[in-house]
Symmetry: C2
Subunit: 299 residues, 2 copies
């Protein structure tokens, strides 16, 4: 079934120990869409400026992503620039220019409004609510957010959390949301805020997912072939929720397989700058690496 | 088969958000022994002062640990004191008094020298070499170390590494040893230094184990019932190597099951101060929790 994502599309300038990328295709909705497109048809809602290269639009279209909701408006595209250290940990942000993204106000094309699966990317909770208002009772809604919104727009964010099925956040965000230091106790508290399914991202260590009363632990795919970690979390979410939409099923078993598939999709993302590696992967690339990873967990 | 451990026995004063412990039984060899005793007979080599409470010796003996090699000498026992913050992360060390441990020079009772399994706890590499010299061709040798020895006694430590089968260290120690930031690439480099088996500890995220060319990923048991993390790593190592000795087998399958069992034993350790929880656990407690953890990994 089809999956709608709302979020940022950007031009990224990235420096890593493996090289650099100047104004490449980036943004959370970009990574999410390309990752999800491995498993299901995707509709993308976002905004770019009049300077946005048409070749980037072509790349998305080639992955079968519906870009009717990706509006090009007068002005400059959102730009982000960052530098990764030797350990490929959290990058140092060198520059952020919101540009046209600062006035982003998502309007869903009429034909998008009954999409059954929805992912609300990391945007202002007010905009997330605005998207929810335009949807006609989606079957499944997942959300991402960040420390900035948790700290500054807490009430609106809690309003969003009441209306969703799944949240995909990291351990720090769990702690900020709940004030609880124990990752497990904090995660349970987040569930009480709304989402029955909570995926807690642990970066290079994988994830812990709570599905109702069940806990699902999944490791990351170990690699020493990291080129650019940008978009890893978004690709993980995209692979995961794309898988759920592709199966058109939200049983616990499907959620667990979705985490596993998302993990593997995310592992491909970091092996190239921008979406260079991600845009090439197929169903069978994912299946093959997942078998490898499964082998590393067997005892 | 029987397992010999050489390391520290201490009196610990610990403050955690759950309470405090004043001069309780501690030390890496203590935690290791008690954990290993779940699976196999253990011989402990260490030193304590004349102030060491005999009740602590009794506790070890009750777990079937052979304490003939735990020498009591004139003077005060090694003391350590630390405080854990709200997140139970790395503790702040408040005080360290090596006391009689400063002059520790391990002498193995004659009957210990042909013990088939050996664990060299985190002591001066010179002392680790001294123990190796006294052993009569052990079947399997594992080692722990720390940043202090890596930085100050590198040459001696590399001498130790050449003579062992397994090292149990954390990601920071891998990086310090190799200068390589990628955990996987660094781990492979450590294998080249000697140990065919390398267990990389990831704290609350579990472990990554390299066994020759194989990679084995295992998560930690998630809990919100942490009381005192002291000894968690030593209990993990003890449970793991105790399991290997108990099976008297060093096949890849046994190593993987050992990691799994060690993980579970370590998870019990943190649920009580000192060895209070650890000394009570049985084979079936471990098996039961391991089944739970296995369930959390199934997809």
């Amino acid at each position: 079934m089809s999956l709608l994502v709302v979020g940022s599309v950007a031009l990224d300038t990235v420096y890593t120990p493996k090289g650099s990328l100047i104004e490449g295709l980036g943004g959370s909705a970009t990574y999410f869409s390309v990752a999800a497109s491995v498993f299901t048809p995707v509709k993308l809602v976002g905004v770019v400026g009049s300077d946005f290269p048409s070749e980037h639009i072509d790349k998305l279209s080639r992955r079968g992503i519906d870009v009717e909701g990706l509006y090009a408006v007068e002005g400059k595209t959102f730009r982000w620039s960052g530098r990764y250290g030797e350990d490929f940990g959290d990058p140092e942000t060198l520059d952020t220019q919101l540009n046209v993204f600062a006035d982003f106000s998502p309007k869903l094309p009429e034909k998008y409004r009954n999409t059954p699966f929805l992912f609300l990317g990391n945007i202002h909770p007010q905009l997330q609510l605005q998207v929810l208002d335009q949807m006609k009772s989606p079957k499944f809604v997942a959300v991402d957010t960040m420390n900035f919104w948790i700290e500054r727009e807490r009430e609106l964010l809690l309003e969003v959390f009441k209306q969703i099925d799944m949240a995909v956040i990291n351990e720090l965000e769990v702690r900020l949301l709940t004030g609880i230091r124990s990752p497990l106790a904090g995660a349970k508290k987040v569930q009480e805020m709304g989402p029955k399914i909570l995926v807690v991202k642990r970066g290079a260590y994988g994830s812990m997912t709570l599905i109702g009363d069940e806990i699902f632990l999944f490791p990351a795919f170990p690699t020493d072939d990291v080129t650019d970690p940008t978009g890893a979390g978004d690709s993980f979410a995209g692979g995961m929720i794309g898988y759920i939409a592709g199966q058109n099923d939200i049983s616990n078993d499907t959620i667990k397989n979705a985490v596993a598939n998302g993990t593997v999709v995310g592992s491909f993302c970091v092996e190239g700058f921008s979406i260079r590696k991600l845009e090439k992967i197929t169903h069978s690339d994912v299946a093959e690496r997942l078998e490898k990873l499964r082998g590393m967990m067997k005892f």
